[in-house]
């Protein structure tokens, strides 16, 4: 079922445009209830509950950050330990080679640095950004207003239950301003 007939014929999906976020949210919930899974909603501001409505719940960003932060923490402390105990062990005012309390600030900064970098790079990587081309921008209404004040729901042609006529009819029932076919 990977490639549907419509997908093979250059169709990305069918997109409905809404004026209000509540209408989009209701439509997204109905679409999920109707059995559609491969879909995405596009909004100019984050809308609470919308990602749950389309069945997207796990972000993995926090897992990335936990890994990044732990590596930063161990790397920061490990670096200082290695410098003062192994690579360049010198007696400084009688302090022990591993004077760990003095290493806490740098360990903390390295933790924050790596955690922040993984948060940002991980988020963009999971989002697949930067992405120079995406089919949704083929809809002129989308490229003009999706980032300003309109709300869009796109059911993708790769969805097993996708059928151009039926999906269009389904979206047209959700009180949209417009329903458009999106080419790849």
């Amino acid at each position: 079922m990977a490639d549907s007939f419509w997908d093979r014929h250059g169709l990305y999906g069918v997109m409905a445009e809404f004026a209000e976020p509540e209408e989009l949210l209701a439509a997204a919930e109905k679409a999920y209830g109707f059995g559609y899974r491969k879909m995405d909603a596009y909004t100019p501001l984050p809308i609470e509950g919308l990602s749950d409505a389309i069945g997207f719940t796990r972000t993995f960003v926090s897992t990335f950050v936990l890994i990044g932060g732990s590596l930063g923490c161990m790397g920061g402390f490990g670096l200082l330990y290695w410098i003062t105990k192994i690579a360049y062990a010198h007696n400084v005012a009688g302090r022990p080679f591993n004077s760990w309390p003095a290493y806490i600030p740098v360990t903390f900064e390295c933790t924050v640095l790596l955690a922040s970098l993984t948060a940002v790079i991980g988020m963009f990587a999971l989002n697949g950004l930067p992405q120079p081309y995406h089919p949704v921008f083929n809809n002129p209404e989308f490229s003009a207003r999706a980032s300003i004040d309109r709300f869009f729901l796109c059911i993708e042609a790769t969805d097993p239950s996708f059928d151009l006529v039926k999906t269009k009819a389904f979206l047209a029932e959700q009180n949209p301003l417009e329903v458009a076919e999106i080419e790849k």
């Binding site: 509540e22 949210l25 919930e29 995405d40 909603a41 596009y42 909004t43 100019p44 501001l45 984050p46 809308i47 509950g49 919308l50 990602s51 749950d52 389309i54 997207f56 972000t59 993995f60 960003v61 926090s62 950050v65 932060g69 410098i83 003062t84 690579a87 360049y88 400084v92 302090r95 004077s99 003095a102 600030p105 740098v106 903390f108 900064e109 390295c110 924050v112 640095l113 955690a115 922040s116 970098l117 948060a119 940002v120 988020m123 963009f124 989002n127 950004l129 930067p130 992405q131 120079p132 081309y133 995406h134 949704v136 921008f137 003009a144 207003r145 999706a146 980032s147 300003i148 004040d149």
Partner: protein, 476 residues
């Protein structure tokens, strides 16, 4: 841009008062246009004051170029630093600039976690201020190195001499703290900008503008899946930046407090430095926000509610700073230590007594006016007060650095510090550099977070007209 849009740019905005964080009648589209058009307006419709301001700032910036060129050529002797005062203007300015940066992180991270919705109109602006202030701060320790071209020796890297920095020293902690802070500030600012850059890309009419904004918008399309990950990343960044901002000024205060010099070796330093940093940072946000909102008619987005709240934060942090000064005086007496007492008396009545008196006037006495609501709502007076506090916080660092160093235990090694013209030139130059960057920022990028303003409008709408929400409840 259409004629009516151009006319709208000149229309004065009405401040809706302290009860509103945004003026009436805004929709997602109009708030986008209002903010985006500050940057997207044609070159010839730029206000004349903007050209005047950036012209002056750019000229000031040349002081930095000339001063540092001469410094590189001759060495740090062109400054007034001479033993016993080896830390002069460079360290004073470093601490002042980095402190200013802290308000930006406080507004964007801590107030986000505390769900303060008034932060939205000023966070972008304050984050940019942070970034540019940290850039100024970062220059000073490097200029102060003596051999600035070897600054990379501060970083632990494998080198042919197989030498490593001394990680028990707070100066090395500083390298890590400041570079991490600069990086995280940049990340925070840029991540916040991405959805707005997408709006700018879609709003821009000229192809080159579309391309320029589009390049940095990374193809953002507002997908819900993206927003979910985005919000998670943003929240985590805020959670990481909150302890970071406190750690950075703590580490800066360790530069002083870890030493054994009277006047520096105190445990009050970390909290009092952090409070002072926020104090000066909020003063700088006000110094920048008041002219900007006037110049670009943003009074209905940066309202008296914001000015009032910022003034209250200044008052609160100012009182913590006052407590710090009192504790310094108290501990000098209570410790019973001869040198501590002498240091305090010398600070208040010695050759630099004038700076201590001015410091008390600028940081403690005059800001008490902020208790009065009428003062907090009087924009010109608030602006003047913010300048006074900026000066006061600079004097605080001057007092801490100079008066503690110039007379220590041994009277035969006492000395005085006199800044030279190159000290002043480089200091003024960084102010010019900072202001040049701020002027460019408000003219090129959305100075207010557009998508977060849309969220504010969304929440306000749901608060005022409760409707049977489909699905989970919105707002809070």
């Amino acid at each position: 841009m259409k004629v009516e849009e151009l006319e709208a740019l000149e229309k004065p905005a009405i401040d809706p008062g302290t009860d509103h964080i945004v003026g009436p009648g805004f929709t997602n589209a109009t708030v986008t246009d209002k903010i985006a058009n500050v940057a997207l307006r044609p070159f010839r419709s730029t206000p004349m004051v903007w050209f005047l301001g950036i012209g002056i700032a750019f000229m000031l910036m040349q002081g930095l170029l000339i001063g540092s060129a001469w410094l590189f050529y001759k060495g740090v002797g062109v400054w007034g630093v001479v033993i016993p005062v080896a830390w002069g203007f460079a360290i004073v300015n470093f601490v002042w600039w980095i402190g200013i940066g802290h308000a930006g992180t406080l507004i964007s991270a801590i107030l986000l976690l505390l769900k303060q919705d008034w932060r939205t109109s000023i966070n972008r602006f304050a984050e940019a201020m942070t970034l540019f202030a940290v850039a100024q701060a970062g220059m000073f320790p490097i200029l102060h190195l003596g051999r600035p071209w070897l600054f990379y020796w501060l970083m632990p890297y494998p080198n042919s001499m197989w030498l490593w920095p001394q990680p028990r020293s707070p100066l090395i902690w500083d390298v890590f703290a400041v570079s991490t802070y600069a990086t995280v500030s940049l990340l925070f600012w840029y991540v916040g900008l991405v959805p707005d850059l997408a709006s700018m890309r879609d709003r821009a009419t000229k192809l080159w503008q579309k391309r320029a904004y589009g390049l940095f918008a990374l193809g953002w399309r507002g997908s819900t899946k993206h927003w979910t990950r985005y919000q998670m990343a943003y929240l985590l960044l805020a959670g990481l930046a909150t302890p970071l901002v406190i750690s950075v000024h703590t580490v800066v205060s360790f530069d002083f407090a870890i030493s054994i010099l009277p006047g520096w070796h105190t445990t009050i330093f970390p909290p009092y430095f952090v409070a002072g940093a926020i104090y000066s940072g909020f003063a700088m946000v006000l110094t920048l926000a008041i002219p900007t909102r006037k110049l670009f008619h943003l009074e209905d987005i940066i309202t008296s509610r914001h000015l009032d709240s910022m003034a209250k934060v200044m008052l609160g942090t100012g009182l913590i700073v006052a407590y710090g000064y009192m504790m310094e005086a108290f501990m000098a007496w209570y410790s019973g230590q001869f040198y501590e007492r002498f240091m305090y008396l010398n600070r208040a009545t010695g050759p630099y007594g004038w700076s201590y008196l001015m410091l008390i006037a600028c940081n403690i006495a005059i800001p008490q006016l902020l208790w009065l609501r009428s003062v907090r709502l009087n924009v010109p007076i608030l602006f003047m007060l913010s300048l006074v506090i900026n000066v006061g916080m600079w004097l605080e660092r001057f007092v801490i650095v100079i008066t503690s160093l110039h007379r220590d235990w041994l009277p035969s090694s006492w000395g005085e510090y006199h800044p030279t013209e190159f000290d002043w030139m480089i200091f003024a130059g960084t102010i010019g550099f900072f202001l040049t960057l701020m002027f460019l920022f408000v003219r090129i990028l959305p100075a207010i977070s557009i998508f977060e303003m849309r969220e504010v409008l969304h929440h306000i709408k749901h608060r005022h007209e409760p409707q049977p929400a489909p699905g989970p409840a919105h707002g809070d």
